[in-house]
């Protein structure tokens, strides 16, 4: 444990810079041009019936404020679901679901909430939804899904917090399609 912590501390300390960045004229002029920043994000899609954890990485373009990320969302537990197997026969399975998706979003109209830089946020997560059940080789119906969302994005000292409403149809009649999206995104080299 101590060895692992020591190696981790060395790794973390290697990432910390010890000098101020000095910009050249060429670098200053390039600041007004298109600039892509790599992003990392971690979030959740939640309503009163269900929860997904969502994480991924991508890039954000600072001039147009357009971003794209490859994300993986998953339900971190087995949820009981009831599916009609045939007339008058319902199966109650324990189901896990996953969604590999491309998240494309745009930030609009900067404003301030309590001195925090805030934007309106519009986006869509398009991906492939799949899953499994416990105790069987049968699987839930898989397929492509398009999940638009809208909300706001707050810049909290370099960590961008997105709060949005998302439409997410995961093919379960017992779970509403409306979800609340909470996501933290870090823009690297911001």
């Amino acid at each position: 444990m101590i060895r692992f912590s020591f190696i981790l501390a060395l790794f973390v300390s290697s990432l910390i810079g010890f000098s101020q960045e000095v910009l050249t004229d060429a670098q200053k002029s390039s600041e007004s041009s298109i600039k892509f920043l790599p992003t990392l994000n971690l979030g959740t899609l939640v309503n009163f019936q269900d929860i997904y954890i969502d994480f991924g990485a991508g890039a954000f373009e600072t001039k147009t404020k357009l971003g794209a990320q490859l994300n993986f969302a998953f339900r971190p537990y087995y949820k009981k679901v009831q599916i009609y197997e045939e007339a008058n026969v319902i199966r109650q399975w324990k189901e896990k679901k996953y969604c590999l998706n491309l998240d494309v979003y745009k930030k609009l109209l900067e404003f301030h909430i309590a001195r925090t830089n805030t934007h309106f946020l519009l986006g869509v997560k398009t991906g492939y939804l799949f899953g499994d059940y416990r105790g069987t080789r049968q699987r839930p119906a898989a397929g492509f899904t398009i999940n638009p969302y809208a909300g706001i994005s707050l810049n909290l000292n370099g960590i961008h917090l997105a709060l949005a409403y998302q439409y997410f149809n995961d093919h379960l009649a017992s779970v509403p399609d409306s979800r609340f999206l909470i996501s933290f995104t870090i823009l690297l080299n911001e």
Binding site: L15, I16, Q82, I90, Q92, K94, G135, T136
Partner: protein
């Protein structure tokens, strides 16, 4: 010196993942150690009680393998069976609900888990519970 927020997140994750690394040097002589492997353990089944009884079927492995271990009709909300370890158990419960039959399914592997203490391999007594309780 400005520290990038990523550093804070890396540190936070390091605390989460330190639990994933076992420490073979640990030694607590007062800790109970079962040094012989356990060959069987309890498989508990929880279900929703119905006055007419709930038929259950217990299988080895998946339903499709159709390796039936036992069939029973239960008038209580739980029951336990003492069964061999290192096997996947799958249970079905058949409920009547008006004109419909609801078949609840759950499955778990009855695993033998071990840990090291003072250089000795200790076997843990982990039961499993198959949850066939109906959704409210």
């Amino acid at each position: 010196m400005k520290i990038h927020p990523l550093i804070y997140i890396l540190i936070a994750f390091s605390f989460l993942f330190t639990g994933c690394f076992s420490n073979d040097d640990e030694c607590d002589p007062s800790r109970f150690c079962e040094s012989t492997p356990i060959d069987s353990n309890w498989v508990n089944i929880d279900l929703t009680e119905q006055s007419t009884g709930v038929p259950i079927v217990l299988y080895n492995d998946n339903l499709e393998d159709n390796n039936v271990i036992l069939r029973d009709t239960l008038y209580t909300s739980s029951i336990s069976y003492y069964l061999p370890m290192e096997v996947v158990y799958t249970a079905e419960a058949y409920y009547r609900s008006g004109p419909n039959t609801i078949i609840a399914v759950d499955s778990r592997r009855l695993d033998q888990e071990t840990f090291q203490n003072c250089g000795q391999t200790c076997y843990e007594n982990n039961e499993i519970t198959l949850d066939l309780v109906l959704i409210d």
